[in-house]
Amino acid sequence: MGLGAAAVMLPSTLSAVNFRETNKSAFEGPKSHTVDDAMKELYGTSKTTVGKVKLKAPDIAENGAVVPLQVSSDLAGKTVAIFQDANPESLVAVYTVPADGIIDYKLRIKMAKTGTVTAVVQDGTTLFSASKMVKVTAGGCGG
């Protein structure tokens, strides 16, 4: 099921869009493992145009359990999704951008190992993306 239908029905009242229900297969199940598959489950396609999206992340995470990310874009995007390929399932979060919303989100994620984080902004029928590799090491001197 593609993203188009859900986005059009976006209400501005309390009942928020819950992608875990509408696009469950993107979060869990056999098609949730690779970034490519999860994107297809969420959008119907995994084809993106690189650009117009800024993704900030550390080059090396101080601790894989707390990796700070920032996604921003000037696009009038409807949804913003974050994927990574370091964990068993690749979809991390899907934001619905409300009216008066600004695409400038920060969050902290956990990554089991070195991987690439991808942020996708859906603008109309085009998917724009940005990716960044984050290295994760086990470390820190001293008990």
């Binding site: 209400p11 928020a16 990796v67 409300p98 994620i109 956990k110």
Partner: protein, 101 residues
Amino acid sequence: MAKKTRIKAKEKKGITTVKALSKHAMLSYAEAKSQKKEANFITSIVATVDDKVVYEVSTSQFLSKDPFMQFKFKGANKGKTLVFTWTDLKGTKRTDKAKIK
């Protein structure tokens, strides 16, 4: 008994920036298995001002423990109340409010 979310909300020049730190173990399926506990993590977060949705996100097991989030939205909201609600896999909800300064 869910613990409270710390929220800092500030409006400057028509843009409100909200920082929120929720308290949740965020146990992924893999972590739950190795710790012999039940997996449970925040699956959705919604924030509203005057019943209007200003932030919503569907989340996975891969947000950090005690997840931090920051978001922004437009509008003259100084003095208004931000209502921040998370729901987790087991259906537990936690709502906290903060005044936008």
